[in-house]
Amino acid sequence: MAEDCILETTGLVKEFRGFVAVNGVDLKVRRGHIHALIGPNGAGKTTCFNLLTKFLEPTRGDICFNGIDITREAPEKIARRGIVRSFQISAVFPHLTVLENVRIALQRKLGTSFHFWKSDRSLDLLNDRAMELLTSVDLQDCADMVTVEMPYGRKRALEIATTLALDPELMLLDEPTQGMGHEDVDRVMQLIKKVSANRTILMVEHNMKVVAGISDTLTVLARGSVLAEGPYAEVAANPLVIEAYMGTEVDELASPAGH
């Protein structure tokens, strides 16, 4: 069943001057799943993301993507292999238009990105595809807007459209609904569900409603290590997990539909 695993880490460790942020994490992400990574603050979720996309160098351990060892590769190489990430704080190009944001992701395939003597009108042939992507996240009417002028929720939608432009096999979303109102959360949740067809998604998420609603598998991290792994219902009943989530978070785990 090895080919069923798109991403596998073995004994992943990250130390920062004596502080162990990620401590021997074995993560198996199955192809086609929406896999959520949860855990209290400081559990090492974002560090894990940074290790997987090589924005940080692991101290020890291996990362395998589609059976290939990618532990020592550069971050842009990882992206070209089909692992594309988003960031905790919305990652857009603020002073470019919405359409240009998506086009930046599309234009690498043209192979003209070093051509400084060519007019940028040569990029117009990407506009149709860019509009398609914007339509898929319901931003078709904002195409000519300068991104910085858009509300937060829409920036996150744009970020997903930009990530989708690379048609990644594996999408890593770092808190895609963070800081959003209820309506936006629902919208982004539906969007993630929609784009998960034919691809794998690994996401860090705090909102239990989202986790319960769309994830197939759940990994709980605490103090840099895996505490529990499995389907939502199973993990939520795990006493270790309930103990790690003190106070209100216990209620959230127990009754995700309550919000």
Binding site: F93, R103, I104, F114, F116, W117
Partner: protein, 311 residues
């Protein structure tokens, strides 16, 4: 280029062609050399977000190489200009490769340190003439026209400036320019989209160094000598001032900034003497405190607000 920029470009070009009937051509040529220098610098600072604090080294290096090529090797004028430009671009490749490994203030410090090393090399090397500079560089001829004639040279300088300015505009509005802007706006995001940002920064650095070199080479031709001042860090500071004063990241900002600074220096030098430095400093402070977007940047913002109010 957008239509408005094209119109401004053409109008400017016509004005430049007519200018020598009204203004002393050497002054205009000096302005154009520094304007090209500032435009090249703006390509890095304004459109890639890289502050090189040693950019004068490219101006100075090209000046010496062109001077040496014309005076000692007696090469044709165009070949001499080309030699200076290529030398500056090559030096840009070396300094750029080292500097882009660091970011922000560290990038600026690395460029400054390396530029200072080259400066002291020029100070000691025998072929530069040390503090006296490399004097008596012949201008030569071009297509049978004697460039010793200021007007003939003037039209060559205008052609060089116009072509370089066009190339910089084209670079900004090219597929490559889009990636530069993406790096300026959000470097981690550009990496996560699969771009090897170091290569893009390096190419931008080499282009900028080469064009700064072309400015220095042309300047040597205009003044018939290459000087240590051009490689000094004061000049590196001046180009930052020109770009900020005019408006960084705007098309015409560096041109406006260079015009103001060079003209002021020229007018004030024999009137207030060394007070010029104080005046420049005061201008810099006012610029940074009161109008951060620079003259062109602030004017554009004002224009946009007025248009917005009408609707």
């Amino acid at each position: 280029m957008s239509r408005r920029v094209t119109i401004a470009y053409l109008v400017g070009l016509v004005l430049l062609l007519l200018a020598p009937t009204l203004i002393y051509p050497i002054l205009v040529m000096k302005v154009l050399c520094f304007a090209l220098f500032a435009c090249a610098f703006n390509l890095l600072l304004g459109y890639t977000g890289l502050l090189s604090f040693g950019h004068a080294v490219f101006l100075g290096t090209a000046g010496y190489v062109t001077g040496h090529a014309l005076k000692v090797w007696e090469l044709p004028t165009l070949v001499g200009l080309l030699a200076g430009t290529v030398a500056a671009a090559a030096l840009g490749w070396v300094i750029g490769s080292l500097a882009i490994r660091r970011q922000g203030i560290y990038f600026a410090m690395v460029t400054l340190a390396l530029a200072q090393m080259v400066f002291f090399f020029f100070l000691q090397a025998p072929f530069t003439g040390g503090e006296d500079g490399l004097q008596g560089v012949p201008r030569g001829t071009l297509f049978g026209l004697d460039l010793a004639n200021d007007i003939n040279l003037y039209y060559l300088v205008v052609a060089i400036f116009a072509a370089s300015f066009w190339l910089i505009q084209r670079t900004i509005h090219s597929p490559f320019g889009q990636i530069l802007k993406a790096i300026r706006e959000n470097e981690p995001r550009a990496i996560s989209l699969g771009y090897d940002v170091a290569k893009y920064k390096l190419l931008a650095f080499v282009l900028s160094a080469g064009l700064a070199g072309l400015a220095g080479a042309t300047k040597t031709l205009v003044f018939k000598f290459a000087t240590l001042t051009d490689a000094h860090w004061h000049t590196s500071g001046e180009v930052v001032l020109m770009t900020l004063l005019g408006g960084m990241g705007t098309v015409f900002g560096p041109l406006v900034g260079a015009t103001i600074i060079v003209t002021l220096q020229n007018e004030l030098a024999d009137k207030v003497g060394s007070l010029v430095t104080v005046i420049m400093g005061a201008i810099f402070v006012i610029c940074v405190l009161a109008f951060r977007r620079g003259i062109v940047g602030e004017s554009l913002a004002l224009y946009k607000r007025m248009i917005g109010q009408k609707i």
